[in-house]
């Protein structure tokens, strides 16, 4: 099975924000640079005045792939994996597991909204195509 992330001081807000339905991205309070993966200092201005902020939870597909190969026994395929430009966090992208029954319809430029699935102490983001989300 797929491993879960180790929780650290830096990344706990990202992996647990889903408990409140929030996509948390680290932002520098001094220069407003959005920072991902999260760090304790800003790589742009080197300020330590950085903190996780809730983003709108939407984004745009920058690229994607449809995985057809089962990498471990019983892995359900195919599924889509996207790289999503995160709204509200310029320059930040996340690797996005796309929750859809039709992975072949994922496309560059498509709008997505984040949902979360809790596994142990981690809330894993799942991204749902927005047209599909409205239909649900």
């Amino acid at each position: 099975m797929r491993p879960l992330p180790e929780l650290t001081v830096e990344n706990t807000a990202f992996w647990t924000g889903g408990a409140r339905g929030a996509l948390m991205i680290c932002v520098c309070d001094d220069c407003r640079t959005a920072i991902h993966p999260p760090q304790i200092l800003c790589p742009h201005c080197l300020s330590r005045n950085v903190a996780p902020k809730a983003m709108p939870g939407t984004g745009t597909v920058y690229s994607f792939t449809v995985n057809h190969q089962p990498w471990f026994p019983g892995m359900a395929v195919p599924f889509a994996l996207a790289v999503v430009d995160v709204d509200g966090a310029p320059g930040v992208r996340v690797t996005a597991e796309v929750a859809t029954d039709s992975p072949e319809t994922v496309s560059i430029g498509q709008r997505m909204k984040v949902h979360f699935v809790q596994v142990e102490d981690v809330w894993l983001p799942r991204w749902v195509p927005m047209a599909q989300e409205k239909a649900q």
Binding site: R2, P3, L4, P5, E6, T8, N11, H36, P37, P43, Y62, S63, F64, T65, V66, N67, H68, Q69, W71, F72, F79, L81, V83, G91, V92, R93, V94, T95, A96, E97, I108, V122, L124, P125
Partner: protein, 390 residues
């Protein structure tokens, strides 16, 4: 005149195979003794040893041997040793070896890479799957694997998809990379796959991670490769004409992640490639043979652009014009590459480039090859090296 540069003086490669059942050390010893014979050196001449990444058990069969085991097995007495998991990709041990011989730490460094991914896979352990079997994962992988993006084919798939989108490349272009390298492999007795590959075979093969299919992925093998890096004065005493390391490039200007680089139609190779040419008067048009990392076919056009053989977005036409296959002006991976000869993590590509520079390329020999460029790595890490036979 002997240039004051570190040089490659010998190379060796074991009999590469699928599911050989041979211990990694068996492959390694075969490769190392062959490299010694190639250089005209004895075991006692080797006073340095280097590898990438060192013994590692995080991915089955990925790196079964460290420097300690090899020193033990070959009875080496070294003045300097190094294993580099965190360096300019698979090029790292060659680069640190070059620096070691130029600072007097050693005279002849045995650099090696051994893999038993094929046997590991046959034993039911999937090779090259990040974090396989672990409950929790840290570092850069923790931003990929928990989202189910656990194979490098997924990460390379994003790069290919974006590149296709921006520049109009299609799978037909990648087919030219795969089938061209297979034609080279047909002339290489050491290649692990020597069955003809047609465009139809390529296009009809099963998809792995779109737009990358089966023949866009390199082949896990069991094998080992050894390369001896020598100091300039020591290289003079060797059996072969030394292959001078004319320049190396390892710049990185982007964060260490697969998804945060501002432009995913470029990769670490673009930083390292630019850095390479900043350190030499040679230019791409001086190059006779190219050894470009092809863990996935899409890395070949990326490396071509990274090293300035064509402009950004132009690789599809450069490939379609017949530049990189057999008979082309800029032949790439003349031994078949990892796509056809097997995944020796860049070392196999360099091995082939050295054979070409020595004129040992057999039926696939590129005429009068004197200068070769080698680029190793995909994604955010890369190392580039320029070799020249004086």
């Amino acid at each position: 005149m002997i240039p004051n540069k570190a040089a490659i003086t010998g190379v060796g490669m074991s009999t590469i195979g699928r599911n050989t059942g041979r211990p990694a050390m068996d492959h390694l010893a075969e490769a190392a003794l062959q490299a010694l014979a190639c250089a005209g050196l004895s075991r006692d001449d080797i006073d340095g040893i280097a590898t990438y990444p060192g013994k590692a058990d995080n991915s089955p069969g990925m790196s079964p041997l460290g420097t300690g085991e090899v020193r033990n097995a070959l009875g080496l007495k070294t003045r300097w040793h190094s294993a580099v998991p965190d360096g300019p990709a698979q090029m790292a041990p060659l680069m640190v070896a070059a620096m070691a011989v130029m600072t007097g730490q050693a005279r002849h460094v045995l650099c090696f890479r051994a893999l038993t991914e094929s046997s590991s896979q046959s034993a039911g352990q999937r090779a090259s799957i990040a974090g396989s079997g672990r409950a929790r994962i840290g570092g850069w992988l923790s931003w990929l694997v928990p989202a189910n993006a656990m194979s490098a084919s997924n990460w390379a798939g994003w790069m290919a998809q974006r590149y296709f989108h921006e520049f109009g490349m299609t799978r037909d272009h990648l087919a030219m990379v795969a089938t061209g390298q297979r034609r080279f492999a047909l002339a290489n007795p050491a290649a692990v796959t020597r069955k003809p590959l047609t465009t139809e075979d390529y296009l009809s093969a099963r998809m792995i991670s779109s737009p990358l299919g089966l023949f866009d992925c390199d082949i896990p093998i069991d094998g080992a490769c050894a390369v001896i890096v020598s100091a300039p004065d020591a290289a003079r005493d060797c059996a072969r004409v030394p292959l001078s390391i004319a320049a190396m490039g390892s710049a990185l200007r982007s964060p260490e992640t697969w998804d945060q680089r501002a432009d995913l139609t470029t990769m670490g190779a673009h930083d390292a490639g630019a850095d390479l040419w900043a350190r030499t008067d040679f230019r791409p048009h001086n190059v006779d043979v190219l050894a470009l990392y092809d863990g996935f076919s899409i890395f070949v056009p990326f490396w071509l652009e990274a090293l300035g053989f064509c402009g950004h977005g132009e690789a599809k036409d450069f490939i379609a014009d017949g530049n990189i296959g057999p008979g082309g002006r800029y032949p790439v991976n003349t031994g078949g590459g990892q796509l056809s000869a097997g995944r020796l993590h860049g070392f196999g590509l360099l091995h082939e480039a050295c054979l070409q520079l020595w004129g040992d390329g057999g039926e696939r020999q590129v005429r009068d090859a004197r200068t070769a460029v080698c680029g190793m790595g995909g994604g955010f890490i890369a190392g580039a090296m320029l070799l020249h036979r004086d």
